[in-house]
């Protein structure tokens, strides 16, 4: 570290000798809490929880809550990666089908080669990371907005998922791999259930919380986290002070790739078979969860905890409607309302926080 190269003594400048008066009062705890990106999502999560707790008796049971968490976790793992990417200032519309691509790759490769499923799992990881890398490289080399670049890769992946699956299996679903070597082992990692205080909870819930903790730590406590905020907040400024902006963005796209791989593996080992057309439309849910969690569409602001809360709200609404015996067709209407409210709350909160 080079610092304080001061030839002359570090004397204060010829500023007035009067000690500077503090003009701002210490900000209250409430105001400081308001400055957190996820505060709006926290309020919303508590509200939604209390609402369904009141109207749906089934919602109060521990088993139901475990189901809510499971719903939230599969979306939440992706939402985490997508929120990091959004803080870094970019979108990935291919995230939804990338999950399916990864599961298809693992499943078909293992089946066609009659290899140990771990071979398929590792190759799928490579495929997913490569998709992320290509998305990132396309973004940087072309200079096009990530909305367009990832829209293109979304369409390409969607087409490739169907075409290659039909080519190899003659069907739109892959053959079951449940009797292959290594399946049970892999299932215990990606799709088993664990007993938490007498309640069976899907292991993805634990993974989700572990990933959330890692993401939060990286975002707030590491150099790379600093670069993510800077790359999304002001690309040119970041570059001017030496932040490797391109590297950061590519790494973020690859993180989305990693998350897509993980969720893809969960789906594969949960259901043994993969439908080639799945995943379309999920990319918007990931983005919505991130936005409800306080991420700015323009980048540079947001949190991983917010994405966790966003996905949790999703899980609650999704299952709550069922437990309340409502017509599930209303689900998307609810999501729309949530999104609108969340963005309005976030807007208001940011204005409050920006006040001095």
């Amino acid at each position: 570290m080079t610092h304080t190269a001061t030839p002359a003594a570090a004397t204060p400048p010829a500023s007035p000798a009067v000690p500077p008066k503090s003009r701002t009062a210490e900000r209250s705890l409430a105001r400081r809490a308001l400055a957190r990106p996820e505060i709006g999502a926290l309020v919303a999560a508590v509200g939604v929880y209390l609402f369904f707790f009141a109207v749906a008796p089934t919602f109060r049971q521990a088993d139901s809550f475990a189901t809510v968490l499971y719903q939230a976790s599969t979306m939440g793992i992706m939402a985490l990666a997508v929120s990091l990417l959004m803080i870094g200032g970019e979108f990935d519309l291919s995230a939804g089908v990338a999950v399916t691509s990864s599961a298809l790759a693992a499943s078909m490769l293992s089946f066609q080669l009659t290899a140990n499923v771990w071979v398929g799992v590792l190759v799928a990881l490579l495929v997913s990371l490569t998709v992320g890398l290509i998305n990132g490289l396309l973004l940087i080399k072309t200079g096009l907005p990530s909305f367009l670049v990832s829209l293109a890769s979304f369409l390409m992946l969607q087409g490739a998922n169907l075409a290659i699956t039909k080519l190899l299996t003659g069907n739109v679903a892959t053959d079951t791999i449940s009797d292959m070597d290594g399946f049970d082992q892999a299932k215990s990692l990606f799709a088993s259930e664990v007993d938490v205080f007498g309640v069976d909870v899907k292991i993805t819930v634990l993974w989700w919380l572990i990933f959330a903790a890692i993401a939060t730590w990286v975002l707030l406590r590491t150099k790379f986290g600093n670069w993510i905020f800077a790359a999304g907040g002001s690309k040119e400024s970041a570059r001017a002070v030496g932040v490797p902006v391109n590297l950061t963005k590519i790494a973020l796209f690859m993180t989305v790739g990693f998350a897509a791989w993980f969720v893809g593996m969960h789906l594969l080992f949960e259901y043994n078979t993969v439908q080639a057309g799945e995943g379309v439309g999920n990319e918007f849910y990931y983005i919505i969860a991130a936005v409800i969690g306080g991420c700015l569409l323009t980048g540079g602001y947001g949190s991983a905890i917010g994405a966790v809360l966003g996905a949790f709200i999703f899980g609650m609404v999704n299952q709550g409607i069922v437990y309340a015996n409502w017509n599930p067709d209303w689900f998307k209407f609810f999501v729309g309302v949530m999104l609108l409210l969340a963005t309005l709350v976030n807007l208001w909160v940011r204005r409050q926080a920006a006040r001095r």
């Binding site: 030839p7 002359a8 004397t11 600093n226 905020f229 907040g233 040119e236 002070v241 920006a354």
Partner: protein, 291 residues
């Protein structure tokens, strides 16, 4: 077409009490067949503020881009510590201690002050897998460096976007100083600021000079320049119109050069043809130092 005729005498006009960190000799720059700069001689000494003035399109930006390593010169010599150099990137310039603070590119508005201060040069602690930011130390150093420059903030956590324009520029200046800058290039730091905020920035320019830095202050406001400048260079159409030390030039002369005295007279004449403009009320152009 590099003309290697170097006129030593022309390169320096101010008192040669200290060797210049940066010296330009007969520097020129061509964009295709457009001659953006020609025959520029300039010296930047430690503890001195060199002001570069000029109208829009006079070549200020080109000159700054050459010095900061964004562009390369086509003619003449660029010397750092007496050694001829050719800078390919701003990073090369930074290594030599030449830091540029751009008007709009200084900071990331939504990030806290201390994160902005150390952005790109973060301090860390711990071994690799758990290597983390040394937040305590970074906040402490940020606070110390800012107060050394006379900037007092109560809350280093506040987003830098909530500071005033002048304060933001000042944080960027303090950052450049902390990271070992010997020469500070300030690209129109007062252009977008009000009177009071400009005063804040001028104060920190003086503070940087006190700390022994060579400062290149680009502006098109002769009043701002005259308040802190030790040496003045006025650019016009890519060439030096004036290159003089403070002793040899008055504010009136500087203003006149800057406004382009002859052109102003012509403009006044033209305005006289237009009905409704009372030319008699306009001040006489100052051709000679009247003070």
């Amino acid at each position: 077409m590099a003309t290697n005729v170097t006129k030593d005498s022309a390169a320096q006009a101010s008192a040669p009490d200290e060797e210049p960190v940066i010296r330009l000799r007969d520097v020129g720059k061509l964009y295709g067949n457009i001659r953006a700069l020609e025959g520029i001689d300039l010296a930047v000494r430690p503890g001195r503020v060199t002001c570069v003035l000029g109208d829009n399109g006079a070549g200020k930006s080109t000159l700054i881009k050459i010095i900061s390593g964004l562009h390369q010169h086509d003619e003449g010599e660029y010397l750092v510590d007496g050694e001829p150099v050719r800078l390919n990137t701003p990073r090369d310039a930074l290594k030599l201690g030449i830091a540029t603070v751009y008007q709009d590119l200084a900071t990331v508005p939504l990030m806290p002050v201390w994160r902005n201060f150390f952005l790109g040069s973060e301090l860390t602690r711990g071994p690799w897998p758990v290597r983390r930011l040394d937040i305590q130390r970074m906040k402490q150093i940020t606070g110390e460096e800012l107060s050394a420059m006379g900037i007092h903030l109560d809350n280093l956590e506040q987003p830098i976007g909530t500071l005033s324009g002048g304060q933001r520029q000042s944080v960027a200046i303090a950052r450049a100083v902390h990271f070992g800058a010997r020469v500070l290039i300030l690209d129109e730091p007062t252009a977008a600021l009000g009177v009071k905020q400009s005063g804040v920035v001028l104060k920190y320019i003086a503070a940087a000079r006190e700390r022994g830095l060579g400062v290149i202050f680009i502006t098109h406001n002769p009043h701002h320049a005259y308040m802190v400048g030790d040496h003045f260079a006025v650019l016009r159409l890519g060439a030096l119109e004036l290159n003089a030390a403070r002793e040899d030039v008055s504010l009136e002369e500087l203003t006149n050069h800057m406004a382009g005295g002859a052109e102003l007279a012509a403009l006044k004449h033209e305005l006289a043809q237009v009905r409704g403009v009372d030319v008699d009320e306009l001040p006489e152009e100052v051709a000679a130092p009247s003070s």
